[in-house]
């Protein structure tokens, strides 16, 4: 009955929301795979926070909210975060997670302060920074050929993340071999003459771009969930990079669908529900794997036990049956 109501209301807006969410989830899942493999989950976390500062600054400087400006601002700040954390780690002799923590909290704090200072001028508020508002995505549409008599092309956020999704996809397809070597054998990559530093910052660029394009839809912090969680689920199951990418994307799409229906039932934030479903899928995977592991570890000892006490067990049976 509930599902009936769900599909009865299903309109164009829901399709746009789902399409946007699924592109966000797919792009973040693919990037997340590399972050998990390269053990850089925390730098992904850091960048997704500090991107806020990039967006706000880009907006204040250029007074425009067009996609290239936002992408530019976010990429610059994202790379700056990665570079500063690394520099602080080397020059300041701090642990690397400590230096990441110091830099991103500062950037995020600055971003929040700017948002509060210019609250009237930016249509960003603290709420939106956190959850994003994917529910409003369909109302901010772009027009081809002028606002007056152009053709409505669909939501702005959808096209933004669409472009980024394509960039991510093409980058991964083109650089697949390199990325594979760098993720699994960083030392080999160095000795093969692959420019590891370039690829590191290239990945950071992709992270920043994905984050900023997802910003409208899911907000800064939930991007982290989508970056890390589906990729971790895939990490538990996959045997190769290609498989991991596909599994991560599959997990992310499943969480979008589950999350959307949960949000519909509870009338809760769509993006938060998507992230929560991703988490629940991960925990379900872990529990299944644990049960499987337990079963496998008990199987052999059980067999040994039976073989050892065979005669005793048989005796018992004889004893019982004679009774």
């Amino acid at each position: 009955m509930l599902t009936q109501g769900f599909f009865a209301d299903f309109g164009m807006n829901d399709i746009w929301i789902l399409a946007t969410a699924s592109l966000v989830a797919a792009s973040t899942a693919m990037i997340g795979v590399f972050l998990i493999l390269r053990r850089q989950a925390l730098i992904g976390d850091a960048i997704s926070h500090s991107v806020l500062l990039g967006i706000v600054l880009a907006f204040l400087i250029t007074d425009s909210r067009s996609l290239p400006v936002m992408l530019g601002g976010a990429v610059i700040i994202g790379l700056l975060t990665a570079w500063l954390s690394d520099t602080l780690h080397r020059v300041g002799k701090l642990q690397s997670d400590a230096s990441i923590g110091i830099i991103f909290t500062l950037f995020f704090a600055l971003g929040v302060i700017l948002v509060s200072l210019y609250a009237g001028q930016i249509d960003l508020d603290q709420e939106c920074v956190l959850y994003g508002e994917i529910a409003f995505v369909p109302f901010d549409t772009i027009y081809l050929g002028g606002l007056e008599n152009g053709v409505e092309m669909g939501p702005r956020a959808f096209w933004g993340i669409g472009v980024v999704f394509l960039i991510v996809l093409v980058s991964i397809v083109v650089g697949f071999k390199r990325l594979e070597t760098i993720s699994f054998h960083p030392n080999l990559a160095v000795s093969l003459g692959i420019n590891v530093v370039f690829w590191h910052y290239f990945l950071m660029t992709l992270v920043s771009m994905t984050t900023v394009a997802s910003f409208d839809a899911v907000g800064a912090i939930l991007v982290v969930a989508l970056l890390v969680i589906p990729a971790s689920s895939a990490y538990l199951l996959a045997k190769s990079l290609k498989a991991m990418l596909f599994i991560a994307v599959a997990y992310s799409q499943a969480s979008v669908i589950i999350g959307y229906s949960v949000a519909y039932q509870l009338d809760s934030s769509i993006s938060a529900s998507i992230a929560v479903s991703a988490g629940i899928l991960l925990f379900a995977t872990i529990i299944l794997l644990q049960i499987n592991k337990k079963r496998q570890t008990y199987q052999i000892p059980c067999l040994i036990f039976i073989v050892k006490h065979q005669s005793y067990i048989l005796d018992q049976r004889v004893y019982h049956s004679s009774e």
Binding site: A98, A109, S268, Q290
Partner: protein
């Protein structure tokens, strides 16, 4: 309890009036907020220091995010904003987060950093989901619940502040009580275990304290930025000293300072969230420490490095002059730049600078014929040569290196050998007079003791 009223500052003079009002403590609440935030700043930075030393700097971040669903759950279940219930709810979910972070890497393939990020983002998403769910419900006094995301000192009630004060004092007191044990575990966990210290107990205690300080700080600093309050003060204080007790005191001072600054700003501009300002002021303090700290600051380190390089360059030239002197057994005692460069490859510009420095220190004299070592310079040069050659001998004898290999090592060590080490070498080697290349080792000069220390 009623949140205290604030006046929206209209102009600059109003800001000043408000600032004065702030410091005259006309509003008793202001005093309480100030005291509360200072206590929080101190306790969070002290407890954060131990997390930092255990190399878990970002644990505070994860725990603060994990507290969110607990707060929301507590509100949903009891439908009250009682600080104690909120506190207990937050504690519970933070603790679940803490164990999850611990459990995941131990039992699955997931790495510690990913476990942290997973826990953080999942709990946060869960918290936001519950928050948005609550906002859709028809419950009383649900407004202001979202203030714990970024923190707002102005929105705190007296009950909140009282709880904050109690918890902070408990944290500081407990750290003081178990300081020795906590320090031992922080620096050498394995050793503590062999001593029979119950490491498990103290780690649990530490976790409890971290969770407590994170949870109690949420209303002031907010979920998102609580990490910085735990982490940044200790990271800054570390540049000033190597003594843990000094570092702890300093980081609590930094924490308190940032609390004062941010509470003030929050008072002057009530729309401003407190947390971000606390983080910005902490970051500024961190940057100042990073640059200007007298022992390990960057500027100090840079200067030291530069000084050492200059000293090495000067001593190398002196040694070159000594060798030139050694080769030209005849009367020639003045050498020009070309002579020096023929023996040691050094850029002309650099050489000229170094020679100028040497002249200033009166280690060499320059004349029309070239450069000549003064008596003082000659003493230093022979001292260095002596150390160089003694070291070469030592390596030759004990490290089984070839004469070619030992030279490079000696080039480095000659600048840092001390007089007592020189004596030791001398005793170790007996009275050898020649180095492995067949050069004579200069004798110890009488005046050497005077100069030896100051090279």
């Amino acid at each position: 309890m009623e949140a205290f009223n604030l006046i929206q500052p209209a102009s600059e003079s109003a800001i000043w009036d408000n600032l004065l009002a702030f410091w005259r403590f006309e509003d008793m609440n202001v005093l309480w907020v100030l005291i509360g935030s200072i206590l929080l700043g101190m306790s969070a930075s002290v407890i954060g220091a131990f997390a930092f030393l255990r190399k878990r700097s970002l644990i505070g971040d994860a725990l603060a995010h994990s507290a969110l669903p607990g707060v929301m759950m507590a509100f949903l279940l009891f439908q009250t904003r009682d600080p104690l219930i909120m506190f207990l709810g937050a504690m519970t979910s933070s603790f679940i987060g803490f164990f999850l972070i611990d459990w995941l890497p131990k039992n699955t393939k997931i790495k510690p950093d990913a476990a942290l990020a997973i826990t953080l983002s999942f709990f946060f998403a869960l918290g936001l989901m519950l928050l948005s769910y609550i906002q859709g419900l028809n419950i009383e006094n649900k407004s202001g619940l979202d203030k714990i995301l970024f923190g707002q000192a102005a929105a705190m009630t007296q009950d909140d502040i009282r709880l904050l004060g109690y918890v902070s004092v408990i944290i500081l007191f407990t750290v003081g009580l178990f300081f020795q044990k906590l320090r031992l575990i922080a620096f050498n966990r394995g050793y503590a275990q062999t001593l029979g210290v119950s490491v498990k107990f103290y780690e649990l205690l530490l976790a409890l304290l971290i969770v407590m300080s994170v949870v109690v700080g949420l209303q002031l600093v907010g979920v998102v930025l609580m990490a910085a309050v735990l982490l940044t003060p200790i990271a800054a204080a570390r540049f000033w000293s190597n003594e843990l007790s000094h570092i702890l005191i300093l980081s609590s001072v930094l924490g308190a300072l940032s609390a004062i600054i941010s509470t003030q700003i929050s008072y002057l501009a009530p729309a401003m969230p407190t947390g971000p300002w606390m983080v910005v002021s902490l970051s500024i303090l961190f940057l100042l420490s990073l640059l200007f700290a007298p022992k390990k600051g960057l500027i100090k380190r840079y200067l030291e490095h530069k000084l050492l390089r200059q000293k090495v360059a000067e001593e190398n030239i002196l040694r070159t002059l000594y060798k030139l002197l050694e080769r030209n057994q005849i009367d020639q005692k003045d050498f020009n730049q070309a002579d020096i460069q023929s023996l040691r490859s050094v850029a002309t510009e650099h050489l000229q600078k170094t020679l100028k420095h040497l002249c200033k220190k009166q280690l060499i004299e320059s004349s029309a014929r070239g450069f000549r070592m003064t008596e003082k310079g000659f003493e230093l040069a022979s001292l260095l040569t002596r150390r160089h050659r003694l070291w070469e001998n030592y390596l030759n004898e004990h490290a089984e290196l070839t004469p070619e290999q030992v030279h490079k090592q000696a080039e480095r060590i000659e600048h840092i050998l001390t007089e007592s080490q020189e004596q030791q070498l001398q005793e170790e080697l007996g009275n050898a007079n020649f180095d492995p290349h067949g050069n004579q080792i200069p004798n110890q000069l009488k005046t050497q003791h005077r100069d030896g220390g100051k090279t």
